[in-house]
């Protein structure tokens, strides 16, 4: 089976500082996996390289066998990679519905329609409602997005990504800034979404309950390099990981 995503010796340096160095791993289709590591380990940079926001200095990123390096985000997203951001990246003045609907329209190739009202695009609207429903946000669909609670804004961000029907979904700290209760709910929700949308899912997370609770594979980054890769159990037992990141008393 070809991997969904394959990183091959990926490097990135800012000035003299190497942020990711020689990172290689493969993500198999249908997998749900986590990337962990201390702050500054290069996790978000890695995402940025995958989605084309940053150019790789070296190495290759293969998505379903096709090299993505050098392609702009626009084309990468079109190939089926979705992403939600660490700080919710939404359209604050639009309604919750329109936030999702614009993504649905984009996926359906209907953004160059100049004449009909957005509400008249039935398919996009229905799809948007379905996504809001699965996120539990349907009740707030007519509110402007900036009015949403912090956690809901992050869900909305995920919803925008989902609307693009990605094969691979990248989530950057989906529970950051949430209360323990919200985290619990979000964890369940993400697992739910992974199943119902048939996704390959990679997430960055600091919340260990989430990492060890739902990930099938965990990858540890440290100072830009891949320190370890394995099942949650393997990682939990890995000496290097424990000293470098999880701490002795873990």
């Amino acid at each position: 089976m070809t991997p969904m995503l394959q990183l091959d010796a990926v490097d990135k340096a800012f000035g003299g500082l190497r942020v990711t160095s020689n990172v290689s791993f493969s993500v198999m289709p249908g997998e749900i996996s986590a990337i962990i590591g201390p702050n500054g380990a290069g996790k978000t940079t890695l995402f940025n390289q995958i989605t084309g926001h940053l150019l790789c200095d070296r190495g290759a990123i293969l998505f379903q066998g096709e090299n993505l390096v050098g392609k702009p985000p626009r084309q990468i997203v079109a190939r089926g990679i979705g992403r939600a951001f660490q700080i919710a990246s939404i359209f604050p003045d639009e309604t919750v519905l329109d936030n999702i609907r614009v993504a649905c329209l984009s996926k359906l190739g209907e953004t160059r329609k100049y004449w009909r009202h957005v509400a008249d695009f039935k398919r996009a609207t229905d799809e948007a409602h379905a996504i809001l429903d699965s996120l539990g946000l349907d009740g707030q669909s007519e509110r402007p997005a900036f009015e949403l609670a912090h956690g809901d804004q992050k869900l909305l961000d995920i919803g925008i990504a989902l609307a693009l029907k990605p094969k691979l979904l990248l989530l950057d700290e989906p529970t950051a800034g949430m209360s323990p209760d919200e985290r619990q709910q979000t964890r369940e929700l993400i697992k739910q979404l992974w199943k119902s949308y048939d996704l390959t899912l990679v997430f960055i997370e600091h919340d260990m309950d989430m990492v060890f609770g739902i990930a099938q594979v965990v990858r540890v980054l440290q100072q830009g390099a891949l320190l370890a890769e394995g099942t949650p159990e393997e990682i939990r037992a890995n000496k290097q990981v424990i000293t470098a990141y999880l701490g002795e008393d873990f």
Binding site: S89, V102, E110, R116, V118, I160
Partner: protein, 320 residues
């Protein structure tokens, strides 16, 4: 579906009301001056609404839309002057096309940079256009402008021309309104709020900015070409940067984030300019103070403030 139907009905009745008001102007007015004034209001409204597609909707602050407004006017003026009155309507079409072509060309240059650089670049190119029009007096008439631009046939009558303007303006604003609430318009609003996210929806930000720049310029040129026939004369002032500034003022006064804001803004500004100008030679002091008050106290504009007041009222009402 009912929601949709109500929306359509509401929108349609609002339209009918606005159109009715302007249809009645020549009937109710006591002098042709009021018709003339209403004509100015309509044309500036179109100019301001098309400008606001660029600024209010997409967040691109151009200080050079006067270039296209002037281009529209001069296309009509020059062709009527050189070729005759029967060229009036073709010249309008030609001016609009020329503006679209120029906007495409300049757009490729100025859209490369964002924010205030975009503003300054549009200003610089518009001033260049003004300087050329001013200087090339053999062709453009320079500071003397062009006079005697009389519309052909039945349009020569002031009232008929007024209805012509009304029809063109209302049709154009209707088209722009459809556009603003279409998927294209939604993408434009998204471009303003979060361009990076738009890229990650798989859409090209600059391509969309270029599209709206061309569309806005095209309608600005249409407004300019209509203006040529109102007074029968045009002038380089139409290309000067203060003309571009005036539409910003109209947009702000009406309310940037309201589609009809600039329409109301244009109406109010033209009436204020007229009233103040007619009463005092110190109009510039008074207008300056008025602008200051608008900017500092009513940043949401007339329509925006009215909506805020309305929502405050309904909220207190519901609280009781």
């Amino acid at each position: 579906m009912t929601n949709l139907a109500t929306r359509n009905l509401k929108a349609a009745s609002l339209w009918a009301f606005i159109v009715l008001i302007f249809v009645l102007v020549p009937v109710l007015s006591t002098s042709s001056y009021q018709v003339n004034l209403a004509c100015h209001v309509l044309i500036w409204s179109l100019f301001a609404v098309s400008f606001n597609m660029l600024w209010g909707v997409t967040g691109m602050l151009s200080l050079g839309q006067a270039l296209y407004y002037g281009l529209g006017a001069y296309s009509v003026g020059l062709m009527v002057d050189h070729l005759g009155r029967q060229w009036y309507l073709p010249a309008m079409g030609l001016g609009v096309l020329a503006a679209a072509a120029l906007a495409l060309l300049l757009g490729l240059l100025v859209i490369r940079v964002g924010g205030v650089y975009f503003t300054m670049l549009t200003l610089a190119f518009a001033q260049l256009g003004w300087q050329i029009t001013f200087k090339w007096y053999d062709f453009t008439g320079g500071d003397d402008g062009i006079q005697g631009i009389i519309p052909p046939g039945i349009l020569e009558s002031g009232t008929v021309y007024y209805y012509f303007v009304l029809a063109v303006v209302m049709l154009s604003i209707w088209v722009l309104k459809r556009m603003a609430f279409s998927p294209f318009g939604l993408v434009l609003r998204c471009v303003q709020q979060n361009p990076d996210r738009v890229r990650f929806l798989g859409r090209r930000v600059r391509r969309n900015q270029l599209r709206v720049y061309v569309i806005s310029s095209l309608f600005s040129a249409l407004a300019g070409s209509l203006m040529a026939g109102v007074d029968g004369s045009i002038h380089t002032d139409m290309l000067f940067w203060t003309t571009s500034g005036e539409v910003i003022l109209m947009s702000v006064l009406g309310g940037i984030n309201q589609f009809f804001g600039p329409f109301v803004g244009a109406t109010v500004i033209i009436l204020i300019e007229d009233l103040v100008g007619a009463r005092t030679e110190y109009w510039s002091l008074i207008i300056g103070i008025i602008i200051m008050v608008i900017v500092l106290v009513f940043p949401k504009g007339v329509v925006g403030e009215a909506m805020r007041a309305k929502s405050l009222l309904t909220r207190t009402g519901a609280g009781r």
